[in-house]
């Protein structure tokens, strides 16, 4: 089967602006978009640049805009997309080259929510106890692989890039609702800021985009509920 693959190319050392290029690629319907990109790089244009590592949806390198939605290239198959496939870099983040975007802002925001366990109590000899129920409380948000698909799919983030974004809130949620953590108040204070949870307009693009199937909006609303002081 042949597909018509359009890629939004940009070479900072030559192009004034990004432009679409079209490639014909012979593929198997079970191939993933990442396979197509690798194929184009191998057979048609070696200068095509994109990030990739694990190849099976767990490292978070290759989130990009595929047929109008943020997807991991290594997790979406040709048969899910059809014969016309378009690939562009993640929206809302500065493009460096071809499908590669600048991620430092994204990781910078991640760092602002104190994404680490805060607990100053003396450590016990053995593990801290945590009931399976308490553990389940934040299970969903531990899955995040920091791929940025969510944040860069959020219209509220496009409108105001200052918004910390769903990914950072997901990471904060993972600690705020961990019974072993004592830093919830600090984190909630940070997220109560004008660029925090209030920027979420429950658009759900993030949930649709998340390759890990995290219910991000729920996590965000649980955090805002915790700030408002109602329930979680």
């Amino acid at each position: 089967m042949d597909v018509n693959l359009r890629i939004l190319r940009y070479n900072p050392e030559g192009d004034a602006a990004p432009h679409w290029e079209t490639y014909q690629v012979a593929v198997d319907p079970m191939d993933r978009v990442l396979d197509l990109l690798i194929k184009v790089k191998a057979e048609q244009d070696g200068s095509l640049s994109f990030r990739r590592s694990c190849g099976h949806g767990i490292c978070g390198s290759d989130a990009m805009l595929i047929n109008g939605r943020n997807r991991l290239a290594c997790r979406i198959r040709v048969d899910q997309l059809g014969k016309k496939i378009s690939v562009a870099p993640l929206p809302g983040l500065p493009v460096v080259k071809d499908l590669i975007v600048e991620m430092s802002g994204f990781f910078g925001k991640y760092r602002t929510v104190k994404p680490y366990l805060i607990n100053d109590q003396p450590e016990p000899e053995r593990e801290r106890r945590q009931s399976p129920g308490d553990r389940a409380r934040f299970d969903d948000t531990t899955k995040c692989i920091l791929c940025a698909a969510c944040t860069s799919s959020c219209p509220s983030f496009w409108a105001r890039p200052e918004y910390v974004g769903p990914a950072a809130i997901v990471q904060a949620h993972r600690f705020i609702f961990d019974s072993r953590d004592e830093g919830a108040a600090e984190r909630l204070e940070i997220l109560a800021d004008e660029n925090g949870v209030w920027r979420c307009r429950t658009i759900f693009n993030c949930v649709d985009a998340c390759p890990r199937g995290i219910n991000i909006t729920r996590a965000i609303l649980e955090v805002s509920s915790a700030i408002v002081g109602r329930r979680g």
Binding site: S156, A159, R160, I176, F177, E182, A184, A185, L188, E189, A192, D193, E194, G196, W198, E222, S224, S225, A226, I227, V228, G229, R230, R231, G232
Partner: protein, 129 residues
């Protein structure tokens, strides 16, 4: 002393203006759901625009303090809700000078409309008075 939310997590002392705005949008939303929809139904389903002359308004619709109070309350909510909403929209799509300009205009218009609405509600005499 840390405050605890019902979720059992310590919560911050305050969320500032954004929290208040967020909360108010929701509370006024509930209020408006009742007020605005009732208002619209009264105007369109229980009566018809063709009969709603100025005179009708004063003699029928607004001939009780209760109805006037209700409409004034709606005015307050609608304006605050609408302006907070428009503030969000403006801040989403406009930056810098333009943002300041549009917001200033919004606030001025808001104040003017509030004044106009309040004047009518309170200055028009009740027929019975």
């Amino acid at each position: 002393m840390a405050l605890y939310s019902r979720s059992g997590r310590p919560r911050p002392q305050s969320g500032g203006f954004e929290l208040a705005a967020w909360y108010f949008m929701r509370l006024s939303g509930v209020a408006l759901f009742v007020l605005a929809l009732t208002h619209f139904s009264l105007q369109h389903f229980l009566s018809d625009p063709k009969d709603q002359t100025a005179n009708w308004i004063f003699t029928e619709a607004w001939n009780s303090v209760f109805r006037r109070g209700l409409d004034w309350l709606m005015l307050v909510f609608v304006l605050l809700h609408g302006f907070l909403g428009m503030r969000t929209v403006t801040m989403d799509y406009l930056k810098g000078g333009k943002r300041t300009l549009v917001l200033s205009v919004l606030y001025l218009v808001g104040a003017a409309v509030f004044a106009m609405g309040t004047i009518v509600v309170f200055t028009v005499k009740l027929p019975g008075a």
